[in-house]
Symmetry: C2
Subunit: 213 residues, 2 copies
Amino acid sequence: MSKLRFNIAMSLDGFAAGPRQSEEDPIGVGGGQLHEWLVRLAAFRETHGEEGGEVNASTPVVEGWFEGVGAVVMGRNMFGGGPGPWGEDPWNGWWGDDPPYHSPVFVLTHHAREPQEMQGGTTFHFVTDGIESALAQAKEAAGEGDVLLAGGASVAQQYLAAGLIDEMEIALVPVLLGDGERLLEDLGDAEIELEQLRAIEAPGVTHLTYRVS
Amino acid sequence: MSKLRFNIAMSLDGFAAGPRQSEEDPIGVGGGQLHEWLVRLAAFRETHGEEGGEVNASTPVVEGWFEGVGAVVMGRNMFGGGPGPWGEDPWNGWWGDDPPYHSPVFVLTHHAREPQEMQGGTTFHFVTDGIESALAQAKEAAGEGDVLLAGGASVAQQYLAAGLIDEMEIALVPVLLGDGERLLEDLGDAEIELEQLRAIEAPGVTHLTYRVS
């Protein structure tokens, strides 16, 4: 059956973003440290049109993120462009004309907007009626494929608390942010059971995968 | 040089103990889940005089805890027996007549007490003048050996915040406690840098080792 999979980077002290998120610091002050292991990979650089970079134990993990994925769900904060209405020349994401998703992407927002078709098979759909609707639309679009929840932390919390996530992959980064947005809190009364599926050691990060039930 | 090493179990959401710690629930409600991977190991059972148990990827990790260790430091809560003065028939720890330490153990407490010699080379010394004194006494006793900080969370926080820990091993357990005693908070202004040394996947736990500076 089609699964809802989720991956995110988290500091050892549990934060998915640093404090004081802003347009200049979209993942908060110090939050960039959560992705240092990622941005130096060749597998990451080539999706951003850059050459060079490392190949290491993280490479197959990152390449696996989109394997079997038929649609993507993400929060407005992850999509970017700041809060509020979209304006006349709206933000189309961080990823340029050819985003790495190559599939329908459902963006959770309070502000309605027409679908935005990009190059390479990515179309951004804007969903204003909640996480369950976004997931239903994504599952419909994905067909036999899985749905990838691309973040950020607050959307992930909502899906976790609602018991809708099937598999969670955490890139655990050896840094202490001390403050910011915690990933695994405010989960309400949800009884979440985790089964550890694998742990992969890589330079500057450990990739942990759990089945969620 | 002699190092201060520290190991502890932590839930995926960052707790080293559950809520409402008491004599009945010494690591808090639900906190026992943090050690399920440990208590089923043959390597653990034999230090408690029991037969049987599993041998798996955690076995060499657990056997390594005491390798090269010349002395141990622990908090009063870890030593157990409840808070307050020691009384006439004082508590001698959770471990029976022959504790698994086989070396001098320095217990941090507010209540003075004469040293308590146990079988097998373990002697409990009770230190009332703070974490730095306990560490100095333990290093003196350890000679060329390392000092093991055996927990619990609040003592570990104090040593971390003071910049005194050299190596930290976290047994990361796939459970969400939701509440309790967080390991990696209240570290003050300490600028703690972590270098990931290794990550070992084992049944029901991942062992993460970091150099601390």
